[in-house]
């Protein structure tokens, strides 16, 4: 078990494309860290650099106390679960799991013990003599995990391991991975583009965008205190509403139509008269009484989601989604929005960063 520390890590491909742009990150010993971002953001490249499958163009990668930039993947003491599982098709499940140990000269009895234990943990004991092609997707996934577990590595690396499973199985495997982590307490780095996976699995979420880290934090921090417009819109479904505004007075931000919201001036540091981007999650507003100066949502379409109902419309000229409990009757076509100051987010429209005080 070990921590993984990245310092100013860069990846530049032969064509000059910079996939990872000087990025520093500490993954504490025993933590479950999820690298989250849209495709092409560099998260997989970063993971492959930690694994040793991609050359590191700049900066250092340290696993435990050892700098591993020039260490072979096999000598980095890591195990990886691939998106397509990458099981050895010509070997039985047992041999798949034993292969890495045999390569390292582990004693036969020890191999047997570890494989048996991992197989029991993952409930794949009945399939040990089968070839991968005779297994279902979920079973292959377990074997891939088993292959990593038996190695007892310093860190587990997961490269979108759930994306090839159907929706139901994905939810189930997600839970199992979390349970497994609670039990093994092994340092894990998990790459995904699925925010739900990130929120449910992670101790620490690292949101990446075009080769850089947008924000690092616990799932709740990322959700409640997004550091940028990118993070704010990437996390949460439906996405956070954004619309332009101007700071009128400390704690008061005016919309395009002259109405205004109250925000917490102790949290956000914005100059009076500054143009800002206002963020408000669909679930953070509700229909209130019409008071002069209170912003009004003119909605056009509703979507029933069962427990909640979504109202799509416009607010001061910008499109806006409101989520409300489904058991409340849908109000008239204009709704005065009631919010609390703590739910209003203020961003700098130029840099896209949150104006939250440090």
């Amino acid at each position: 078990m070990a921590s993984v520390v990245l310092e100013a890590v860069r990846k530049v491909y032969a064509g000059g494309v910079e996939a990872v742009k000087g990025l520093s990150l500490t993954i504490p010993n025993g933590s479950f860290t999820v690298l989250l971002g849209p495709s092409g953001c560099g998260k997989s490249t970063l993971l492959r650099m930690i694994a040793g499958l991609e050359e590191i163009s700049g900066g250092t990668v340290t696993i435990g106390s050892k700098k591993v930039n020039d260490v072979e993947p096999s000598d980095r003491d890591i195990a990886m679960v691939f998106q397509n599982y990458a099981l050895y098709p010509h070997m039985s499940v047992y041999d798949n799991m034993a292969y890495g140990l045999r390569n390292r000269g582990t004693a036969k009895e020890e191999i047997e013990r570890r494989v048996a234990e991992a197989a029991r943990m993952l409930a794949i004991e009945p399939y040990l003599q089968r070839k991968p092609r005779a297994l279902s997707g979920g079973q292959r996934q377990r074997v891939a995990m088993g292959r990593a577990i038996v190695r007892e590595p310093a860190a587990f690396l997961f490269d979108e391991p759930l994306s090839n499973l159907d929706a139901k199985l994905r939810v189930q495997m997600r839970l199992e991975i979390r349970k497994l982590h609670n039990r093994l307490k092994a340092t894990s780095i998990f790459v995904t583009h699925d925010q739900v996976e990130a929120m449910t699995l992670a101790d620490q979420v690292v949101v990446m965008n075009s080769g850089k880290i947008e924000q690092t934090g616990t799932p709740l921090e990322i959700y409640r205190r997004p550091a940028s417009i990118f993070v704010a819109t990437f996390i949460g479904s439906p996405a956070m509403n954004l619309f332009p505004g101007t700071i009128e007075a400390p704690g008061k931000v005016r919309l395009a139509d002259g109405t205004s919201f109250a925000y917490d001036a102790n949290v956000f540091d914005a100059k009076i008269g500054a143009k800002v981007e206002i963020g408000l999650r669909p679930e953070d507003a509700k229909a209130g009484t019409a008071v002069p100066g209170r912003p009004k949502l003119a909605w056009e379409v509703t979507e029933e989601l069962g427990a909640t109902r979504l109202l799509h419309g416009t607010l001061a000229g910008s499109s806006f989604v409101l989520a409300m409990p489904a058991d409340i009757d849908t109000p008239a076509h204009e709704i005065a929005l009631e919010t609390t100051p703590g739910t209003i987010h203020i961003f700098d429209p130029e840099s896209g960063r949150s104006l939250r005080r440090a």
Binding site: L53, E54, E55, D70, E72, P73
Partner: protein
């Protein structure tokens, strides 16, 4: 990248591949060289690894007048014969296999499977296992020393039929249904839909079958007796009298170069189609 690449590890593949390329190219290079020297230099083995100065003379001689002693036919005629044979075989195989496969895949009729097997089993009857009886039939039909005799028996093709069949099976059924709704009968569907879709497959097959036709040896050896009917691949063999000093090696090598050039050019220029054809006909 899986390994940290040392300089040594980077160089090894290049070294191995360059050696491979050289070994592969050397015999042809030597033939090219020989075709640029005069008879005496080649005959006495005094050739060097640099070209001589008789290239134009040698090629002119061989193409327009042939060798002195062995086969006196100009290679120009042989090239023409080879070209006609290769083209007729390639186009013939493609045409008859295309329509056979069309019948088998898009129609239902009694003995359909029997028809399929009848074609399929010919895979196991290469010309080498029925040399003389086939020769006798061609002789009885008065087809010796004719282009028909040279090509017709080789035009049947189980591989091509199987390949087209395989390709046709991937054509979505909805396409047939849509054509029917649009009022197309079997002829219109074939001409307007299936044929345009098959162009790549046909082209790939053409490359393979052209080479196959050009390189035929045993069959033309049996069927052609007159010098003016022989193909270049047969002609070159006849120029070489294994143990005899009569062989005009510089001319034989010029002929070899001319014999291998057309199919090699086809492969190099149409590499993608060639690879596709090769890989798919073997499935």
């Amino acid at each position: 990248m899986v390994e940290r690449q040392t300089l040594f590890a980077r160089i090894v593949p290049h070294v191995v591949l360059i050696i491979g390329v050289c070994i592969v190219a050397f015999p042809v290079y030597l033939a090219l060289l020989a075709s640029t020297y005069d008879a005496a230099t080649v005959q006495n083995g005094r050739m060097t690894l640099l070209p001589g100065n008789q290239m134009i003379e040698n090629y002119e001689r061989i193409i327009f007048s042939g060798t002195n002693s062995t086969t006196r036919e100009p290679v120009g005629t042989m090239l023409l014969n080879s070209f006609i044979m290769a083209m007729v075989i390639a186009l013939g195989k493609i045409s008859i296999s295309l329509i056979s496969a069309y019948a088998i895949v898009f129609f239902r009729f009694p003995f359909r499977m029997a028809a399929f097997w009848l074609i399929f089993v010919t895979l196991m009857l290469p010309v080498e296992v029925r040399i003389y009886p086939t020769y006798k039939i061609v002789a009885d039909l008065q087809l010796l020393d004719t282009y028909t005799g040279l090509t017709l028996p080789l035009i049947a093709s189980a591989t091509a039929t199987l390949l087209f069949r395989q390709f046709f099976m991937t054509v979505p059924e909805e396409l047939v249904e849509a054509s029917k709704i649009d009022g197309a009968g079997p002829y219109k569907f074939f001409k307007d839909t299936l044929l345009p879709l098959s162009v790549t497959t046909m082209a790939a097959l053409f490359v393979i079958q052209f080479i196959y036709g050009w390189n035929q040896y045993l069959w033309p050896l049996l069927i052609t007796t007159r010098d003016n009917m022989q193909t270049i691949v047969i002609g070159i063999k006849k120029m070489i009298v294994t143990s005899d000093a009569l062989t005009e090696w510089q001319l034989a090598m010029a002929t070899a170069v001319l014999a291998l050039l057309p199919p090699v050019v086809v492969v190099v220029l149409m590499q993608k189609l060639f690879v596709k054809g090769l890989v798919e006909t073997e499935k």
